[in-house]
């Protein structure tokens, strides 16, 4: 098992990955592991809470895209919570904002995920 330090909580039965303040090449594998764990617990339906994240580089983007593709292939759904300007910016530059569903708050993301 790869080691990771990102907690996977559960709210109303939906797994929620809490992304760290900074996601970069040094901890992207940890994030990957947390995303896999959440996918397993939520059968492909889960939320990635990036509201605390102020920096996300391409390694982080790669982890999120892989998770999104896995979820889609398995009929699941991941939803991101994005509140910070820096994360929104990298998502806009890479075109991710049009591809991965995202919400402005955790409550909104949870509501969208449970509605399915």
């Amino acid at each position: 098992m790869p080691e990771h330090s990102f907690p996977v909580d559960e709210t109303g039965g939906i797994p929620v990955v809490r992304a760290p303040e900074e996601v970069d090449v040094t901890n992207a594998n940890g994030l990957r592991a947390a995303l896999l764990e959440a996918a397993a617990r939520g059968h492909g339906r889960y939320v990635v809470d990036m509201s605390q994240t102020t920096f996300c580089d391409t390694a982080g983007i790669h982890a999120l895209v892989s998770a999104h593709k896995r979820a889609q292939a398995g009929g699941g759904d991941i939803r991101l919570v994005i509140t910070g300007a820096a994360v929104r910016r990298i998502f806009a530059i890479t075109g991710l904002d049009e591809v991965i569903p995202h919400a402005a708050s955790l409550d909104e993301a949870l509501a969208q995920t449970s509605r399915g």
């Binding site: 102020t54 391409t58 892989s66 890479t94 075109g95 049009e98 591809v99």
Partner: protein, 409 residues
């Protein structure tokens, strides 16, 4: 424990240690493993010793080296993680002793065909990850003791470290060779322009950054800069494929967005795990304008004579590999005489904890109209930090000549 016993344990420990100290200075992982297995077999007085390495892609343990059990390697034995003796050791990350070898305890028939009666195995762990399993076997019934297992674990630990460092070195060397062959330091001569470029591997080794400049049959000039996600050999291989595919599509279309769209479709189908940002620009035959399309890449910086440099206004389009069918926008940038265009990858502007816009601002302030080589030096000087960037960095600068000696003169 008697003094003689302690001396024996010390001698065995030293013997294990000597294996990998010598091994670490060597390059060939198969030599290292062969020596390690011989020594382990000798020290533990076992009949067989084998190393199975975990193949991350398939989740299977692959027989990689063996002493007294060569069939395992010749037949390419694969054990699924979690199954059988070796699979259990890897999944549970702890040593296992087997006093009975048959179909209920091991998956691999070679082991019981060989008449192995007892086995002991230990996980090979490097950087917190299981990378394989080292096991020994005895053809006569035998109880492996806790002290045997301790020695075996020590050998496995050292082997894991040695292998990790060797694999990393070999991968790095191959990736560097590939990168050198694909990202040429010499750019083509395009009359009317002055070009220069830099490629700097990240502190984690080379990655998937590349740039490419090629004249097209139409008299146009194709300009590419891209960054394949990931690092090392895997990223460099994908980069090589993307570079050739993009060149092929560049011959078919003068619309950068169309070329990127085709590139994306091809990559998504044949390399579904690949992810990359790419900028593709086409410089007009008269060199006076460039049409640019972005696939998740940063826009170029444009410096016109007498004006501060600025980020070119090109709307972003989705990265290659996202599976998006969104049409990428193409922007046409006027390139006046003497203007300088700067293309770069994220390694140049991204620093942990820094907002991207700060990096982009810093880059714009460092770019000004000057000869391409000097501009590269200025930009690298201004952007390099005391800490080397983790990510690799590519920079390409094209300056349109001020004098009228271009092809449109």
């Amino acid at each position: 424990m008697t003094i003689a016993d302690q001396a024996l344990v010390q001698a065995r420990l030293r013997s294990i240690q000597s294996i990998t100290d010598a091994a670490l200075s060597r390059l060939d992982d198969h030599d290292v493993l062969a020596e390690l297995l011989e020594r382990t077999r000798e020290i533990l007085r076992a009949d067989t010793a084998a190393v199975l390495l975990l193949d991350m892609a398939s989740g299977q343990l692959v027989a990689t080296a063996a002493a007294g059990l060569e069939e395992e390697v010749r037949q390419g034995v694969r054990i699924p993680l979690g199954r059988g003796f070796a699979g259990r050791i890897a999944a549970e990350r702890r040593p296992v002793i087997l006093d009975r070898v048959d179909g209920t305890t091991v998956v691999n028939p070679i082991l019981w065909d060989k008449g192995i009666q007892s086995m002991a195995g230990a996980p090979m762990v490097a950087s917190g990850q299981v990378i394989g399993v080292l096991h020994v076997g005895s053809q006569t019934p035998r109880k492996f003791t806790p002290s045997d297992v301790e020695l075996l674990q020590l050998a496995a630990d050292r082997a894991a470290l040695a292998l990790q460092s060797i694999t990393a070195q070999a991968d790095r060397a191959a990736a560097e060779a590939l990168q050198r062959s694909l990202v040429p330091s010499a750019l083509p001569l395009v009359p009317g322009t002055d070009m220069a470029a830099r490629y700097v591997p990240g502190s984690g080794g080379v990655g998937g950054d590349w740039y490419d400049v090629f004249p097209l049959p139409t008299g146009e000039v194709g300009v590419v800069i891209g960054d394949v996600a990931g690092s090392g050999l895997a990223a460099a291989v994908i980069m090589g494929r993307m570079r050739s595919v993009l060149r092929a599509y560049a011959l078919e279309s003068s619309d950068p967005a169309e070329v990127l769209g085709k590139l994306s479709r091809k990559m998504e189908h044949f390399e579904p795990d690949a992810l990359a940002t790419v900028l593709y620009g086409i410089l007009s035959p008269g060199l006076d304008r460039m049409s640019v399309s972005l696939a998740g890449h940063f826009p170029p910086v444009l410096a016109r004579p007498g004006q501060p440099a600025e980020l070119a206004a090109v709307r972003p389009g989705p990265m290659i590999g996202l599976g998006s069918r969104t049409l990428r926008p193409t922007a046409t940038l006027p390139v006046p005489r003497g203007a300088l265009l700067c293309f770069y990858t994220d390694g140049l502007i991204e620093r942990p904890g820094q907002v991207i816009d700060d990096g982009l601002d810093r880059l714009c302030r460092s770019v000004r109209v000057q000869p391409a080589e000097a501009a590269c030096a200025t930009v690298m000087g201004a952007m390099a930090e005391d800490e080397p960037s983790r990510d690799d960095t590519a920079l390409l600068i094209i300056v349109r000549d001020e004098e009228e000696d271009g092809p449109d003169a």
